[in-house]
Amino acid sequence: MDAMTTAVAEPAEPVGFSGRLGSYFGMAIGNFLLTIVTLGIYRFWAKTKVRRHLWERTTFQGEPLEYRGRGIEKFIGALIVFAVLIVPLFLFGLVSAALTASGNKEWAPLFALPLDIGLLWLFGVGMYRSQRYMFSRTAWRGIRGGMVNGGWLYDWTFLKYTLLQVVTLGFSGPYSATRLWNLRMNDAMFGSAEVHADAQWRPVYKDFLIAWLGALVIYGTAFFLVFTQFSDLIAVMKPGAPPPADPKALAAAVIKVYGVLIGAAFVASFLMIRYHAMLLRELFGKTRLDTLGFRFDATGLDLFKFQLANIGLLIVTFGLVTMVMPFRIWRFYTAHLATVGHLDADSLQQTTLAGPSQGDGIADAFDAAAF
C-alpha cells in the first residue's frame, strides 16, 4: 500500500506508558531471586515476565499492547541453539588451542578468524530472529506482528556492514546503522499492514563526524599514553618474557592501563550522545506502519541526562539499579515516542505470517537481547 501523503500533517499522539517503578521493582526482585536459586535457568521466564509487564502498560493509540511469549518457548529455543552450537564450538576451540599451544601460532588465526566471523554472523542472525520472535508475540487489538524472512539473508548484509565498520574504524557507523534498520524494519509487518523504513545516513552525518573525529583523537591519545607510559608492562606481556620482578607494581600498572582505556571509552561515548539521539530521531521518524508515522523527540541533552542519571544511580545504589534498568530504558523510549497520523484499525486484518514456534534462542544463547 502506498499512502505517503497522509502521514505527515496530522498531529502526534504520544505512546502511553502507565508503568510504576514500585510494582516493577517487586517483580524484578522476585525474578532476581528465582534466577539465582535456579542457577540462571529462570532467566527465560524472568525476561518474559519483564516484557509482559512493560507491554501491558504501554498504550498505542489508546489501546494497550499485549505480550504473548512464554518462558518455556525461550528456554526450548535456547536449548536447541545450544545443542546445535556446542559441538562445532567445542571442536574449534580444541583445534585452535592445540595449534596455539603447539607453537604453530601462524596457523591459529586461520581457525580463529572463521570462528570469530561465524560467531559475528550468528550474532546478526540472533538479532534478527530476536526481533522476529518479539514481533510475533506482540499483539495490539488482537492483531499480531511478524517478520517476512528468517534472517539468514539479512545476516550477510549485517556481516558486510559490521566488517565495513571495522575496516573504516567506525566511520561507516551511520551508514551501517540506518541501512540495517531499514532492512530489518522493511521485513516487518503488523497484521496486514507493512512497515516501511527509509532512514538516511546523510542527515545524521554532520553530528557523527564531529563525534567520530573527537573519539579518534581521544582513543589515539589514550593508546599513545598506554604505549609510552607503560612500555614495561607491554614488554612483560610478550610471550617468553621473563616473569615480572614486582608483581604488585605490575598489577597497579594494569589497573592504570584499564583506567585510561575505560576513561577514553567513557568520554568518547558521551561525545557520541548527540549523534545517537539524532540517529534515533532519524530511525523512528523515517519509519511508518502503513499510514501511521512515528516520531521520536529525545534530544542529545535528554539522552545525556538519562545516561548521567543511570551512571549516578549505578554508583549510589551499588549497582542495584541494573535490576530496574529495562524499566528505565522502556520509560525513556516510550516518553519520547509518538505516533503521527492515523491507522485505519477497521481495515487492519490479522497477519498471515506464521510466527516461530520457539524462542529467539540464538540471542538468548549470547544473552544479548535488551528486554
Binding site: L94, A97, G142, I143, P242, L348
Partner: protein, 369 residues
C-alpha cells in the same frame, strides 16, 4: 490474589459493557456482556448475539492493568469488559497460562530430561571425565602440553648430570605398572616455588623448588604429587571440563550460571589436589621414600608465608583464599602428610648425595625453550 483495579468501583452493574477483538481484524466490536454460570452471553446491540461456553474461556494475565478474557479455540480472540467480571463467576476459571494436560506432560518430560542431564553432570561429572579423558588422543594432548610448558617463561635447565639425577628420581617414583602416558619432567629456570602437571604427561618443576628444598626427599614429595596428577589424568580432565562443562553451564545459565560453574571448578580442583596429596604419599611409601620431606616442605612454605609482613588487604585476600583457592590450604596438607609420616616403613634418601648436588645444579646449563 491480585485484584484488578476495576474491581474497586463501588458497585459494578451487570450486565457490563465491553469490547471484543475477534483476532481477525483490529476493529473493536462493542458488546453488552452477561456473565452466566455456563459462559458469557454477548449482545452486539444490532441483533447479533453470541454465547461463549465457560469451558473455552480463560482468564488473562492477572497482573495486567486491564483484565481480559481469552478463549482456547480462538487464540487471538479477546473480550475486554469495562468492569471486572463478578468474583463469583471468575472463581475457578483457569488462567490463560495454565497448560493443557498434554502440553504439561510434554514440558514436564522435557524439564525432567534437562534436569536429569544437569543433575547427572553435577553428580557424575567426574565419572564422565574419567571415561572421556582416556579417549582424547595422546598426540593432541602432547601438542597442548608442549605449548603450555613454554608459556610460563624462563629457560629449561638441561645440565647433563642434573638431568640424569632427575631421571633416576623419576624412575624411582614411577609405579611398577608405569604411568597412563609417558611422563616428561623438566626444570624451568624460574624463582617461583611451584610445580605443575600439564596435558601430555608434562611435569614442570620450577627452580624455586630446588632452591627452597633442604633435601632430595622434599623434591621427591613435590614430584610424587605432580606424578599423581598425571596418573589421575587431572590435566586432561581440567582441559575437558574447561572446554565442555563450562561452555554448557554458561550457555544455559548466563552470568549466574558462570559463577555456579566457577564454584564447581574450584571445588573439583580442590578435590584433585587432595587426591594428588594422597596419591603422592602412597607412591612415596611404595618407593621407600619418607613422606616427611613432603610434610617439611609444605610446612616451611606455609610458615614463611605466615612470617611475611602483610597489610590488611593481603590478610583479607588470605581469608577469601582459603575458601576460593584451587589448592587445599597448605596447613590442611601438612596435617594429612604428617599423619602418613607416622605410618611410614623403612626408608632411604630419595637421591644419593652426589645426585642431589647434581640436581641442584641442573640450571647451570640452560636451553632456550
Amino acid at each position: 490474589m491480585a485484584s484488578p483495579t476495576l474491581l474497586t468501583r463501588p458497585r459494578s452493574r451487570y450486565p457490563v459493557r465491553g469490547v471484543i477483538h475477534d483476532g481477525l481484524s483490529a476493529r473493536a466490536q462493542p458488546v453488552e456482556i452477561r456473565f452466566d454460570g455456563d459462559g458469557v452471553h454477548l449482545d452486539g446491540g444490532d441483533g447479533s448475539t453470541e454465547f461463549v461456553p465457560r469451558t473455552v474461556l480463560r482468564r488473562g494475565d492477572r497482573a495486567a492493568p486491564r483484565p481480559a478474557l481469552h478463549r482456547t479455540d480462538q487464540p487471538d480472540w479477546r473480550l475486554v469488559p469495562d468492569a471486572a467480571p463478578p468474583p463469583d463467576w471468575l472463581r475457578g476459571l483457569p488462567d490463560i497460562g495454565s497448560l493443557s494436560p498434554r502440553a504439561r506432560r510434554w514440558y514436564a518430560a522435557t524439564a525432567a530430561i534437562a534436569l536429569a542431564i544437569l543433575g547427572g553432570l553435577w553428580a557424575f561429572g567426574d565419572t564422565l571425565l574419567d571415561i572421556t579423558a582416556p579417549l582424547v588422543p595422546q598426540r593432541m594432548l602432547a601438542q597442548v602440553g608442549d605449548g603450555l610448558v613454554r608459556q610460563p617463561g624462563g629457560e629449561q635447565c638441561v645440565d647433563a648430570a642434573g638431568t640424569a639425577a632427575l631421571g633416576r628420581l623419576t624412575a624411582r617414583l614411577t609405579p611398577t605398572h608405569g604411568f597412563v602416558e609417558p611422563v616428561r619432567v623438566t626444570v624451568l629456570d624460574t624463582a617461583a616455588v611451584n610445580a605443575l602437571a600439564a596435558p601430555g604427561g608434562w611435569v614442570v618443576l620450577f627452580r624455586g623448588v630446588l632452591d627452597k628444598a633442604t633435601g632430595p626427599d622434599e623434591v621427591a614429595g613435590v614430584l610424587a604429587h605432580e606424578f599423581t596428577h598425571v596418573a589421575l589424568r587431572h590435566p586432561t580432565k581440567s582441559l575437558l571440563r574447561q572446554m565442555g562443562v563450562s561452555l554448557l553451564v554458561r550457555a544455559i545459565g548466563g552470568d549466574v550460571g558462570g559463577y555456579a560453574d566457577l564454584a564447581v571448578v574450584l571445588s573439583s580442583s580442590r578435590r584433585a589436589e587432595a587426591a594428588a596429596d594422597t596419591g603422592a604419599v602412597a607412591q612415596l611409601r611404595a618407593s621407600h621414600i619418607s613422606p616427611a620431606g613432603l610434610a617439611a616442605f609444605f610446612h616451611r612454605i606455609l610458615s614463611e608465608d605466615r612470617a611475611k609482613p602483610k597489610d590488611a588487604t593481603e590478610r583479607v585476600l588470605d581469608q577469601i583464599g582459603s575458601y576460593a583457592a584451587t589448592h587445599p590450604g597448605e596447613s590442611e596438607r601438612a596435617v594429612m602428610v604428617e599423619a602418613a609420616f607416622m605410618r611410614q616403613g623403612a626408608v632411604t634418601p630419595a637421591l644419593n648425595a652426589a645426585d642431589w648436588r647434581a640436581l641442584r645444579q641442573i640450571c647451570a646449563v640452560k636451553a632456550q625453550s
